[in-house]
């Protein structure tokens, strides 16, 4: 066999000009002055693909313009072509670890529409799952922050600490990350007592190992040095730029959807809202560390509550209707019969959820006839606080970009949806 050269005559011209989603004037002004325009990304800068366009004077960032959308996956448009129930696994995809909260938000929007009262036991199980996800996400973000700062142990330990959480989620739902466990009207299975006991014990493991983690990473002098007084957002700025979640609380605003509009069983357990007045990167991190402690306390209380409840009855009768006798403690066998032709009354139904990274909004518009949503709107916390993130960069050093990025736990797949 002889080799031969193949010439492909493909009329492709490489692009000659660079497309930037910023006005031309901005570039010209920057070049005429003494400034540089620096593009950070869209290579993976730690937690997803995203580009930052920075205008820099010397070593100081004058202006930061985000260029998100590299991991946009048309979640909302895809949702318009699926059954209501099929959207649950879809909406789980953007936030890797936050499965509990993300599903909970969507399911609660449906429950609002159908006016379904969730059984007490299901409420507690859902709350446990949501809090486990919250701890998992906070640990994940701590790991990303550590790797941005070059602290390898700070990267490995949170990911190892996620392992017991993932194990707990596996025992509850049967899968490690994308649990799809919360369904309209309740949860898919009842959680046996043995599993709940494991979840309770897991919280002690987390507490014990987080103590070492605190010594080696959280209170590490080099970490404090890197994060303290960096990327400060004052209370007024944080409110003005629409920052949400722990990042808003780090700037001194006491706002938490779980406390303001309690859903599930958050009003029957006692917990505190951690806030900080500094608004810098370090307090943004510390607030989330304290939230882990609060979540652990919530999980323990929830497990104690569940101890006194009879097993079974985890799916609402309102949604099961004629199958309520057979399926109220196990949906197996009736999943499609119950949810397959779920039709929402016409109108717009909204739910606000406190996801790990902040407020999560779901809005479903239904035409009242079809079994798919007419329009589904998801606004993830990442998208809310992107502006605040950009404003925090202003006036900081270029080398602090990573520290601020990590302190916000900005997660492009979640923000881009």
């Amino acid at each position: 066999m002889t080799e031969r050269e193949v010439v492909l005559d493909v009329p492709v011209q490489p692009p000659t000009d660079l497309f930037l989603p910023i006005p031309k004037k901005f570039l010209e002004e920057a070049y005429r002055g003494d400034d540089y325009v620096v593009l950070v990304g869209p290579q993976h800068p730690g937690s997803g693909h995203m580009r930052l366009i920075l205008r820099i004077k010397g070593d100081v960032i004058l202006e930061a313009i985000p260029d998100p959308g590299y991991v946009h996956r048309c979640m909302e448009k895809l949702a318009e072509n699926r059954l209501y129930i099929q959207n649950i696994p879809l909406f789980e995809r953007p936030a890797i670890m936050d499965t509990g909260n993300v599903t909970l938000g969507y399911v609660r929007a449906i429950e609002n529409a159908l006016d379904v009262e969730v059984p007490e036991r299901a409420k507690y199980i859902r709350m446990i799952l949501a809090e486990l996800s919250r701890i998992g996400t906070h640990l994940y973000d701590a790991g990303i922050l550590a790797v941005f700062l070059g602290h390898t142990t700070g990267f490995m330990w949170p990911f190892a600490l996620r392992e017991p959480i993932v194990e707990a989620i596996t025992r509850i739902s049967g899968v490690r990350v994308t649990s799809s466990f919360i369904i309209p009207g309740g949860v898919r299975r009842d959680v046996p007592w043995k599993t709940l006991e494991f979840v309770r014990k897991t919280t002690f493991v987390l507490e014990k190992r987080l103590k070492s983690f605190e010594k080696i990473f959280i209170r590490n002098p080099t970490v404090i040095e890197r994060l303290k007084d960096v990327g400060v957002l004052s209370k007024e700025e944080a409110i003005k730029f629409g920052v949400v979640g722990p990042f808003l609380r780090a700037s001194g605003v006491e706002y938490d959807v779980r406390a303001v509009e309690p859903y599930e069983a958050y009003d029957s357990v006692s917990w505190e809202i951690p806030i900080s007045d500094h608004g810098d990167s370090y307090s943004r991190f510390l607030v989330r560390v304290e939230e882990i402690a609060q979540s652990i306390s919530i999980i323990r209380q929830a497990v104690n509550e569940l101890r006194s409840m009879p097993e079974g009855n985890i799916i609402s009768e309102d949604i099961l209707q004629e199958y309520s006798e057979v399926a109220s403690s196990d949906i197996r066998g009736f999943f499609f019969k119950v949810f397959g032709n779920l039709v929402l009354p016409s109108g717009e139904f909204t739910s606000l959820t406190e996801a790990a990274r902040g407020t999560l909004l779901y809005s479903i518009i239904s035409d009242g006839e079809s079994n798919i949503p007419y329009r589904a709107r998801v606004i993830t916390p990442g998208w809310y606080y992107l502006k605040g993130f950009m404003e925090a960069l202003r006036g900081e050093r270029l080398a602090d970009l990573q520290a601020i990025y990590g302190s916000f736990g900005y997660f492009p797949p979640e923000a881009d949806r």
Binding site: S212, K215, P221, I273, S276, I331, R332
Partner: protein, 247 residues
């Protein structure tokens, strides 16, 4: 409300924090809290409700198509078998292991297993026809230990046991509701015959009497798959619970 306090970095505090960090590192170096499971040599003990490879029992299946309807990833395709019945086949390139299909199956024909490490040569091979779903797939098990995470004394411990984990747990069949199809609004029937063609057990028949065409559903033959209910263009069929035996 809890106020977070940020530590001040005075000289002495700083030294203390340095020493703390170094001591913690040294402690871990001496007695590490390793939680690695060396996977091919050991295997993690998975709970029985683990969502893995899906097995299929054709003798139980009543070809109701519900699994393929509910699949969020369009991974399940119904295949026509030689006995003129439709059975599901799964494309594992698409499957997201949500097990909505397992929860949907009204007769426990689909069963979950703990198998999660099947290797395929290419994408085409990942399409598993019905025959491939009947028996568990071939996997190579090299493990000598089964590892379980156990909490002992407020710390996570890897409990290694020599036995091989049974990857195909026994699943108890869940409750079934016997139903049959019935027409609640005969006046609206178009007599189009779509339901007749769709019925897998030929329980529905149309007889022509003069100008009238009569639809007849044989309750004995019907096993309540519900295909005709979905097919009917007028939405006048529905499933009704069969009265208890002898009741």
């Amino acid at each position: 409300m809890i106020k977070i306090k940020v530590p001040k970095l005075k000289m002495l505090d700083s030294v203390k924090l340095h020493v703390d960090a170094l001591l913690t590192g040294a402690k871990e170096a001496i007695r590490p809290g390793t939680i690695t499971i060396e996977y091919p040599r050991e295997r993690r003990k998975l709970p029985d409700n683990f969502r893995g490879y899906i097995l299929f029992s054709p003798e139980r299946c009543k070809s109701c198509w519900q699994c393929s309807f509910v699949c969020p990833a369009n991974a399940i395709k119904m295949e026509l078998a030689s006995n003129n019945r439709y059975y599901p086949s799964i494309d594992y390139a698409k499957c997201i292991f949500c097990h909505f299909c397992v929860d949907t199956c009204p007769v426990t024909a689909l069963r979950p297993t703990k198998i999660h490490d099947v290797v395929y040569k290419d994408l085409e091979e990942m399409y598993t026809p019905t025959e491939g779903m009947v028996n568990p797939p071939k996997i190579i098990r090299e493990e000598k230990y089964t590892v379980e995470y156990v909490v002992e004394g407020r710390d996570l411990i890897l409990k290694r046991t020599r036995e091989m984990d049974n990857l195909i747990p026994e699943i108890e069949p869940h409750a079934e509701v016997k139903e049959y199809s019935t027409c609640f609004d005969p006046e609206s029937c178009l007599a189009c015959g779509l339901c007749v063609n769709s019925c897998p057990v030929e329980a529905i028949s149309i007889t022509t009497v003069g100008q009238e065409r009569r639809l007849k559903i044989d309750r004995e033959k019907c096993y309540g798959c519900g295909i005709c209910v979905n097919v009917c263009p007028m939405h006048i069929l529905k499933l009704v619970k069969r009265p208890e035996e002898g009741g």
